[in-house]
């Protein structure tokens, strides 16, 4: 069986469509993030919905024996004098689970009082046997800041590492094009969280595991781009007279089969994770689902055209394929 028999699509010719598509998604992502920033929740400002890792505060997952009534829970906490509570249904309704969140406590010595208050309030209203605390996370400001720093550093180092590796294996422009594509992917993926949030889909938050997913998809997008670049490099060595856009198109078409298959298969496995993997991994798998699609797209739509555009700009007029075939180190 074979899906792609001698494909020959003019990818570079469609670059304006691609650019428009990317712009639409990037811009809507940015707008959603701006909107999210403008509406701080619980006294906390951020461009995307953040998990408790970064937001700090208290998050308690409570499972009830009966289907919980959010209004009643809200009354219970209000009666106990707890303010700024956020209560949402957690995972599927049939599990009777509710997620109760409190904003960050600035006084570290009072870190645990929120959880205690919630527990007491629920016990007072519903009695001891009708609920069970399933999961608690209390993050103080010190740790919250540390995690933030970790996430930012990890992302920066990753991108830097990739850039250096590609510079070493190819040429600088390849590295830059790949990093720009990765950056584009990261922006759209994070924007997707804000976008869905503005459409009312709650529960998808950026936590430390989501950052791990984003770093993974950066690696994945890089992989994809490398496959295309590898083929371009091979073809450049073989035919130095072919016009660059044609050569790049041909390279993409040759690798299309592999690209679609791999992305498709990886996508299916990640989709399986999204559907079956449970609420704890939902943000993580969502980031991967979006990331894999966008990562595949960006290798064709962003990285390759960038190579050509740069070379054409450098060469002035003329479509001669003068892109230097990168060093090929012996492995």
């Amino acid at each position: 069986m074979e899906f792609f028999h001698s494909v020959s699509v003019d990818w570079l010719g469609k670059k304006w469509y691609f650019l428009a598509f990317s712009l639409i998604f990037s811009v809507s992502g940015i707008i959603s993030m701006a909107v999210h920033w403008a509406h701080p929740q619980g006294g906390f400002r951020s461009p995307v919905p953040l998990g408790v890792d970064f937001r700090g505060g208290t998050q308690v997952a409570v499972q009830f024996t009966q289907p919980p009534n959010i209004e009643q829970i809200r009354q219970a906490t209000a009666a106990a004098g707890i303010r700024d509570v956020s209560i949402v249904n957690y995972d599927v309704a049939s599990k009777h689970e509710v997620l109760i969140s409190l904003p960050e406590q600035h006084l570290e010595s009072a870190l645990d009082t929120g959880r205690q208050q919630i527990e007491d309030a629920l016990r007072a209203k519903f009695g001891d046997n009708s609920f069970q605390i399933v999961n608690v996370a209390v993050v103080g400001p010190t740790v919250g800041k540390q995690l933030e720093k970790q996430a930012v550093l990890a992302t920066l180092y990753s991108l830097l590492g990739m850039l250096i590796y590609l510079w070493f294996r190819f040429q600088l422009i390849y590295g830059v094009a790949a990093v720009v594509a990765c950056f584009h992917d990261t922006l759209i993926t994070i924007g997707a969280f804000a976008l869905l949030d503005s459409f009312g889909v709650k529960g998808l938050e950026i936590s430390l595991t989501v950052i791990a997913a984003i770093l993974t998809l950066v690696g994945y997008s890089m992989n994809d781009t490398i496959v295309v670049f590898d083929r371009i490099r091979e073809n450049l060595r073989l035919s130095r007279r072919e016009p660059l856009p044609d050569l790049v198109n041909r390279s993409i078409n040759q690798t299309l089969s592999r690209t679609v298959l791999t992305s498709g298969l990886t996508f299916l496995t990640v989709l399986s994770l999204f559907i079956f993997g449970g609420p704890v991994l939902r943000g993580f798998s969502f980031a991967l689902v979006v990331g894999i699609l966008i990562g595949t797209y960006s290798s064709i739509a962003i990285a390759a055209p960038m190579l050509v555009a740069w070379q054409q700009w450098r060469a002035g007029a003329g479509n001669i394929a003068v892109l230097p075939a990168a060093r090929r180190s012996k492995i």
Binding site: R169, L268, T269
Partner: protein, 543 residues
């Protein structure tokens, strides 16, 4: 050619056996049969992270400034002694800001004629550990603990705290607790206790009874802090402090009471050698019978014989437990009669036996994962993994026919090697770690796709089967190498910067990709070679 192939097949089978062994037995001796089903042996060597087992995760900050304060308090006493012995006049020796600068001591109002002598005494006795400056224009000296000494003290405090916590946590009966320094030089400790769900009990055992001390009482009890301050003229002198009484004081009242105590304790912490629960024969109240070390006993004797008729307060965990009148000199043992709860007495005894915490603790983060959530997570993760693997395997069979079997075999071997790695290294499997396995499957299959697509291309260009296979592998190798290296770099960074669950993800991803480099290139190649050798002339590779 054929002999070479046989060797390679033996190597592959060897690898399979070794890693299967690792998955089930790790580095231990094999033990088949017995009462445990084989599957549970699989899970024995693979540690489950907290998010899969359920348990408590705490990050504590050690308030090292308190330990510094204790040390400088001792130094204050020694300086006073030295100055008195040297017959040098001075107004007082104080710490101007014990809360923010516990390392600083000031000697005030030194007799101007004696500043030279004072300086030489200070230099000779304290200049190893302290920086001495003075005399200043107001005839004062400033003695500051050297930064490297302070740092060493901080580190020692954190290490001691870890030891004490480890001892105390022992009593909870947790298997495989994790108690270790956390972060980079911020005096933080990580405590992870799998299988525990009652976080309040954990906190009580770890930290609520921080220090046992006996202080001289300056005044009290007062009904609140304002009244207490009023008694000393509105502002608290630097060597006094306000301490609240606890709810369970001997006088039986629930109302708050505030005492003014001398900041420097008479005896404290490690001065106590033991404490045992007892009962007062008259009242039936629980009491604590304590003994002091010899050194501390001497100190105590000196103090109590000079202060008969005054009061002293027993302070436990920062709260006054009992106030006693000094009726006669006490040397090294006594009885504390506050009304203690059973828990308090047991914890106090254990605490004094294993050692008091050198400084108190702040909680920075606490997470509890219920065991049922952990079990759910495992179930969901495994389901997702199984579905993912099946989908991929079936697809490869349909799309690549005979070679699909090749890919599926490689995939299976990949998983075995991954499990084996986990078993050998004792790495922890977390929920993101399971996701890492799933991702490895997806990315691992990529290598196969790269090779197969290339082989198809070569065959389409008319090459013979063995040449097509050769070329396919040769061209695909660089790409496979590049993509694996970049992802492993990514995973390494995640491992360095990530927290527990994320580290688990980085580990399984790295192991999986390393395994994949072996299976996709070596194993697949061997299977292809075997297949090609068996082809009749004119037949093509089933791909």
């Amino acid at each position: 050619m054929k002999k070479n192939l046989k060797q390679k097949i033996i190597i592959i089978i060897g690898v399979l056996v070794v890693f299967l062994y690792g998955a089930f037995f790790g580095f231990d001796a094999p033990s088949l049969g017995g009462d445990q089903p084989l599957v549970s042996k699989l899970t024995q060597h693979i540690h489950l992270g907290l998010d899969l087992q359920g348990g408590v995760h705490l990050i504590l900050e050690v308030k090292v400034k308190e330990a510094v304060n204790t040390e400088t308090d001792n130094t204050v006493a020694r300086i006073e002694q030295d100055l008195k012995t040297g017959k040098l006049g001075f107004a007082q020796v104080v710490k101007p800001d014990p809360e923010h600068h516990p390392e600083m001591i000031r000697i005030e109002g030194v007799n101007p004629a004696q500043t030279g002598a004072a300086r030489s005494i200070l230099d000779s006795k304290y200049s190893n550990e302290y920086d001495i400056s003075g005399p200043a224009s107001d005839n004062s000296f400033t003695v500051t603990m050297k930064p490297n000494i302070e740092k060493a003290l901080d580190d020692k405090t954190v290490q001691n705290t870890i030891e004490v916590i480890r001892d105390r946590v022992d009593s909870l009966g947790v298997s495989e607790p994790i108690i270790q320094q956390y972060g980079l030089g911020d005096n933080q400790i990580l405590v992870e206790l799998p299988g525990i769900s009652d976080i309040d009990r954990v906190k009580t055992i770890i930290s609520s009874t921080a220090r046992l001390e006996i202080h001289a009482v300056v005044g009290g009890p007062y009904p609140d802090e304002q009244a207490a301050l009023a008694s000393v003229g509105g502002t608290l002198p630097p060597d006094d402090e306000l301490v609240h009484g606890s709810g369970s004081m001997a006088n039986g009242s629930d109302a708050d009471s505030v005492y003014v105590l001398q900041r420097v304790a008479i005896v404290a912490g490690t001065d106590f050698r033991s404490a045992d629960p007892g009962t007062d024969s008259n009242t039936g109240q629980r009491t604590v019978h304590f003994t002091l070390t010899n050194e501390a006993g001497d100190k105590f004797w000196d103090y109590t014989s000079q202060n008969v008729g005054h009061s002293m307060a027993v302070v436990l965990g920062g709260r006054v437990k009992e106030v006693a009148n000094i009726e006669s000199a006490i040397r090294d043992s006594g009885e504390i009669r506050g009304s203690f709860s059973q828990d308090e007495v047991t914890i106090l005894s254990k605490m004094l036996r294993t050692g008091a915490l050198p400084a108190s603790l702040n909680y920075l983060e606490d997470r509890t994962v219920g065991a049922s959530l952990g079990a759910d997570s495992i179930k969901q993760g495994v389901t997702a993994a199984v579905v993912g693997v099946l989908v991929v395997m079936v697809f490869m069979l349909i799309y690549y026919r005979g070679s699909g079997i090749n890919a599926d075999l490689a995939l299976f071997l990949n998983l075995v090697i991954l499990l084996g790695f986990m078993g050998f290294s004792g790495a922890t499997l977390t929920l993101p770690g399971i996701a890492g396995v799933i991702l490895t499957i997806g990315m691992g299959v990529d290598s196969n796709v790269l090779i197969f697509e290339r082989i198809r291309e070569e065959m389409r260009a008319g090459k013979a089967p063995s040449a097509a296979v050769d070329q396919g592998f040769a061209h695909a190798w660089t790409t496979i190498f590049d993509t694996h290296v970049t992802t492993i770099v990514s995973a390494a960074i995640l491992f360095l910067f990530g927290s527990g669950p994320v580290k688990g993800f980085a580990v399984t991803l790295t192991f999986g990709l390393a395994a994949n480099l072996f299976t996709a290139v070596y194993v697949s190649r061997v299977i292809f070679d075997a297949h090609v050798n068996n082809l009749k002339p004119g037949e093509v590779v089933s791909i």
